[in-house]
Symmetry: C3
Subunit: 313 residues, 3 copies
């Protein structure tokens, strides 16, 4: 009999197909709580959830906080900006100190790849990776898989293309691992400077020309251009990026008639996607946000909601 048997959620690479299905099924059953008149169930009453974000975040942090509160857990937000906890203290010491306060789950975003894995080794609390460096962002991948399954009825056999800065994106990395595990066919596209040289070792197809990459696809995932970081370095200009790699009404005709367009947000209108497409009938960008709350509720529930893993059988 299957059991969800994890203390932490550190990356898509640690999840089996059964784990992923269990998370999506649980999210499905929790989804309607957010549309009730009273958006709250007592499931996690008396549990303490710590949001620990070393990198600024509004969207992901708000999503986790909403998820925790809808399950009646208590939340505590720590940010590294004003954190004396962090001054002159190693991450391990910080971890042990947090642990001494007996939290049930610590949600960590950190600029160093592997930080959540290190934390997880030193605390009894469950650790959820909310993004670590250029490594993984598993809750984003899970909400993406959840959105695809809800819209398409399945993931297996779908043709998915991911366009943008594949090499430096933790979202891309987690999505690729998850999509491959669930049996999708994944193509990546973008400027050569943004495609990892060993991309094919990840099991994906590389098609540099985005028009060709879009051919006959069921799902298009656009990545966000980090305007504040690398724009000068990796491509000549925003305008040029937009012309060659931005999604627009014309090139989308190459994809299937019932294609869905995804984006992890926040979108740069007119850069990686035109406004009319972002707001148009193919876009499921806002569904991703709603689904994100449900996925995070599911994870909190599965990690600490009862005897680990035998809750829903």
């Amino acid at each position: 009999m299957y059991r969800f048997n994890h203390k932490d959620l550190l990356g898509m690479d640690q999840l089996s197909v059964s784990d992923i299905n269990m998370i999506l099924d649980t999210a499905d059953s929790l989804m309607e709580i957010s549309s009730r008149d009273i958006k709250k169930v007592p499931t996690l009453r008396g549990k303490s959830i710590v949001n620990f974000f070393y990198e600024p975040s509004t969207r992901t942090k708000a999503s986790f906080e909403m998820a925790a509160k809808r399950l009646s857990a208590d939340t505590l937000s720590l940010s590294a900006t004003d954190s004396s906890m962090v001054k002159g203290e190693t991450l391990i010491d910080t971890a042990r100190n947090l642990q001494a306060m007996n939290p049930d789950v610590i949600i960590l975003r950190h600029s160093s790849s592997g930080a959540p894995h290190l934390l997880a080794r030193y605390v009894d609390a469950g650790v959820i990776n909310a993004g670590d460096g250029m490594h993984e962002h598993p809750t984003q991948a899970l909400l993406d898989l959840f959105t695809i399954r809800k819209k398409k009825g399945r993931i297996k056999g779908l043709k998915v293309v991911i366009i943008g800065d594949i090499a430096h994106s933790r979202v891309a990395r987690s999505d690729i691992i998850g999509l491959k595990k669930m049996g999708a066919e994944v193509t990546v596209s973008g400027p050569p400077t943004m495609i990892p040289v060993d991309a094919e070792s990840l099991g994906v197809k590389v098609v540099f020309d985005p028009e060709k990459a879009l051919n006959n696809k069921d799902v298009i995932m656009m990545l966000r251009i980090q305007l504040e970081r690398q724009s000068e370095v990796l491509f000549p200009s925003l305008r040029e990026y937009s012309i060659f790699f931005g999604l627009n009404k014309e090139i989308i005709k190459r994809a299937k008639k019932d294609v869905i367009i995804m984006h992890p947000g926040p979108i740069n209108r007119g850069v990686e996607i035109t406004g009319d497409l972002a707001d148009g009938p193919f876009s499921v960008i806002l569904d991703q946000v709603s689904n994100g709350v449900a996925i995070r509720m599911a994870l909190l529930y599965l990690l600490i909601g009862g005897e680990r893993g035998d809750n829903l059988d």
Copy 2:
């Protein structure tokens, strides 16, 4: 039969006299919760309230947060300072993203006039304007009306003078609209640079000399001088402002014997008001703060507390 029938509270200009009476009556009935031993009722359990402040605020934000918690709602605070949600994202996109998480009310403070109105058009959640640019600050006006009614037993027919930077104050603007609607007689006073040229079109009397403006008044509202902003531009010096427009023991004799003195806070002692008056028997400045929590509870209750508007009949 009267019904409070608003999705949002965007400005005093959208409220009828019946609406205002309903809000004040509701605040009256909720007021005592804050002085109970257990300061909490389950009315808004399972509702999500988002505090979204693009401008810094402690006082107003704390008041809304207290109000929400005393009604058992869950609160989530977003600030634009550390907000990745805001980077490269339009207010409309931010609004849609928030909406996708299904909040019940979004409380918005923003430096642009009209921002809450724009937000309200794009979200199903109720929107409360907590101050938009130099436009309106309706919850301040409502708590001011509430304070006057509690202290004087009525608003209609009272003679009210507002002294300070009328031209650039959203508080003054909302107070004037509210006071006029409720039948008060409003006079404004201040340096000519701080009085709008079309002031009389708002239905108020302009009396530049503050001593004359105080004549026979029931209510004095002092506005805060924004030391950090405009002091150099609009008047020669703080000392001069204080001498000509500051409230002191002498000039207050012009007003009625039972005058009340109001100020939206934080006060600059010795600038717009002397310390002895701020702390003296005529001052209702701290009542305003207490009443503010009740007014915000009333608004949350009326906007999302049940079938809109038929709760209290």
Copy 3:
């Protein structure tokens, strides 16, 4: 019959031996809540706790917030950084404004010695000093006493040495007062620039040589070197400080075989204490953190948990 009869907790100097015993006993009885599956009791439901930190803090603030939530109180966090409440406003006015919102307890950290005492005079709410300037940090002292009592079974008659910047540490000051009241024998040690000239008037022994100071001790309390503040001024170099005053495997042999090592955190590994000692069998540093949550629960309970003081008889 003994009654805990305080409105505020401002300093160790205001507590009697019976008060301290009552606080530790209460912490003892609340301790197990944090290790329950449902870490929450309804004791302070409907109470409002304001965390007001003028100085940055993660550790202490998180500890108070956890404590409040485990007793079901509502919490509100104000920080002075983004605080309009503070601009142009005296602490007394801020206090009165807070009071007008009817909180039950205000937890204040402030860089000025005596700030909590001032606040306490102007508010009906209970005030807890979470550190004021170089004056006191009583909750740290109470959790230290609690930790000693739990580990050693008693405080009276124990030999305690405190090593570090005694002169500028509010932790040292509160610990000394508390330890002396409870009948411990206190020795202090550190560079002469860090020992107050009138140290002996506090009832402690001064032994400049740390090796000698450690002789036959039951408890070693190391203070944190404030790297960010005074390192250049008070001693030649970190390396030198570490060599002469840092705790290491060798010099600890001078102390008793069952000595315990304490530190208020965050620790500077390799400066005031070596990593192996901080993580070793004598260290109770993480117990201090766990005990801190229980002590803060006890204080909130005793200050506002019922009829003051007669709760537990």
